[in-house]
Symmetry: none
Subunit: 221 residues, 4 copies
DNA sequence: AATGAATGAGATTTCATTCAT
DNA sequence: TATGAATGAAATCTCATTCAT
């Protein structure tokens, strides 16, 4: 009898969207300027609301920060695992795919900036650091370590120390995300990093280092 | 009446040491808590002087920060260059030496923390970022790029894209310094990174990836 | 279709009761925490309505406060006067009755808390203070003064300074109301005051002080 | 050899005087407007310093308040006890003396305003209320109760319930202090209370009520 | 030179009040 | 009418910086 409400009232829609709008604003500002150097009012302003509104949704700037980290992470945790779970094929290909994928889906998005924030604030927010380690770093490490271990087990890879190899694998990726949100964002010096190219070389070099039977020597690419 | 001072009086010595003591204090605190979150008074206190004294030597907290970056860098810039300049021998060995050396002489010292600060503050201090890029990143890149290029030129290395290879080389090193001053400093999660081992694996993997004639396959380590 | 409402609908009854519910809520909260320390929203919440509704009935927190004082007072002003007007009998008995009555009908009810609020806020709300003096303090004083004067005139009481005697009479009553809403409400210290007993002693002592022919000396109680 | 420093430097003298200056300013403002309605900055301004200076000496407005209550009380606790301790003579005279004395030395001074503050804030600061009860109310009660009990024991007074008699005694005094800092401070209504006269009548009435052998009936004063 | 008390601009947070729904 | 999301003025508190000693 009543026409189905096509959408909730704008006011209602706003209310439900507010927390996410504030979190988005906070993410971009915290990535840009750091937690301490970002004023609450700026966050509110970027979200298009007033100072007071921020505090309707988050009890303090610190709680906003914690909420931001938590919700940003939960969005990304599942991704990687799913990617790898059902994969059939060579570990070499899998590695290449994972690195490329991660860059496109995380590193190259605003969420990548979280790494920068966490590096900067880990010591000021140990609980969050623990959370980040538990939810992101450890699982990622586990995942990559698993790939390498499977490669070694199947004879595809040489036997190398797995955990250390993972750090070697992660390093350049981290290097690029951080660069993108620090020096890279200043856009003034020399040629910027070309992430796709770096990943390509990274895979070429690492795989040659890992593979039991490396491809015959020729110039890659 | 006063004996001729063979060495400057302790007071005198103290006075001359002040700026450095302040810079040291600032370095450790900025690394620990970040620039914005560190109070001037804390810096003074850690240096063993009063708030006012800080301002006798540095015009502002920001100037202190800039001075800190500048002097920390100039101390380390020459080092690497000198190391490499006169080297005679294989580039493979040189690379291994440079990485190990850098870790021992920079990465593993308080100065390593500067990377963390710069990553966190680059966008807030673009001039410093530029300075850091010009004085540290670019030269380092140049240096490592030179080594790789020499290796390629001599036929020791395969022809790979030099600049990208440098990023791959640098990534794991950066990963380790940052970790040491962020999550690693919280000392609570799983097994900490063993930097020597990581460097060993990094060299093993990278060199196999680079070398035109890799060593016959056997388990490294 | 709708049956003729024998009584107003609950909704209607509710609506008409709103202002009083808000005033009741405000009274209890202002007594408890003071005017400045009570938030409007708390008042609304205790009255079971939303913040906005409060402002439908009262233009501001301050107006709410003024309305509260005014309506609380008018409710009690007539009472005392009526009590005394037609009284026939000894002034000694009348005094005893008035004090007991006041305690039961005012002092021991939420309305007693108004004294505490007024003491605390008199200087912040001089008009209200004037109002309170005009409507409560002065009439009460008048009333009690009248009783004492009648007693003196009839020879029942000694000739004492009337106004001062009234203050002496009022003091202990005030002491008890205030205590009930301050220290007494914390319920933690020693034996609480027993108001009935205090009034009994107060009357015993005061009457002996007032009466021209005090009762022969014996232990009261 | 060094001339005895006649006085510390003005700056030094200021520093030592600051806390007291701030407490004095706070006392007068809290008495005037209440705790919640007084702004920190007003306190600082009345003490002749800036906002920030207040926080050099007191961690928060609440701590300032607590310190104020504590130091105001300790100043007055010993007084009463000393007064009574060594007294020789009739309890009737002692009572008269104590009441007059208290009015002159406490009730009629700024410190008297503390009663008003405590009445207003007891429920918001239960620890302070307890403190006030333990340090002021209970000892005072004890003291006056002791006087009455001694009077009863010696046969000077009729046997009356001691504790209740004390409340009757205290009531008018409290009435006067509170009035002085509330309605009385507005100075607009009728004839203000004349404390000396009230005390005189209070003593006259109460003593006639208490004394086993009251003076022969005549107009007092 | 060194100190540290003092300052006041500025940050965080609260809350009376408004107003679109 | 009633709501409660939103506002922004105002309060509390912090801290970089100054300056009299």
């Amino acid at each position: 009898m009543r026409p189905a409400p096509a959408s909730p009232s704008p006011r209602q829609r706003r209310k439900e969207a507010r927390p996410q709008e504030l979190l988005d604003a906070a993410l971009s500002l915290f990535v840009e300027k750091g937690f301490a150097a970002t004023r609450s009012e700026e966050v509110a302003a970027r979200a298009g609301v007033s100072k007071g509104t921020l505090y309707l949704y988050f009890a303090s700037k610190e709680e906003l920060f914690k909420a931001l980290i938590r919700e940003s992470l939960s969005a990304h945790i599942a991704e990687g695992a799913a990617l790898i779970a059902g994969y059939q094929g060579s570990m070499a290909e899998l590695l290449a795919m994972v690195l490329n994928d991660w860059w496109v889906r995380v590193g190259n998005t605003p969420a990548g900036g979280i790494s920068k924030i966490m590096v900067a604030e880990a010591r000021n927010f140990p609980e969050l650091a623990q959370f980040f380690v538990d939810e992101v770093i450890a699982p990622t490490h586990e995942l990559l370590g698993g790939v390498i271990a499977r490669g070694i087990a199947s004879g595809e890879f040489r036997p190398v120390p797995v955990s250390e190899a993972v750090h070697v694998l992660i390093g350049p990726m981290l290097h690029m995300v951080l660069n993108q949100h620090s020096f890279g964002a200043c856009a003034m010096f020399g040629p910027p990093i070309d992430p796709a190219a770096v990943i390509r070389v990274q895979i070429d070099l690492i795989l040659r280092g890992l593979l039991a039977a490396p491809p015959s020597i020729k110039q890659n690419e």
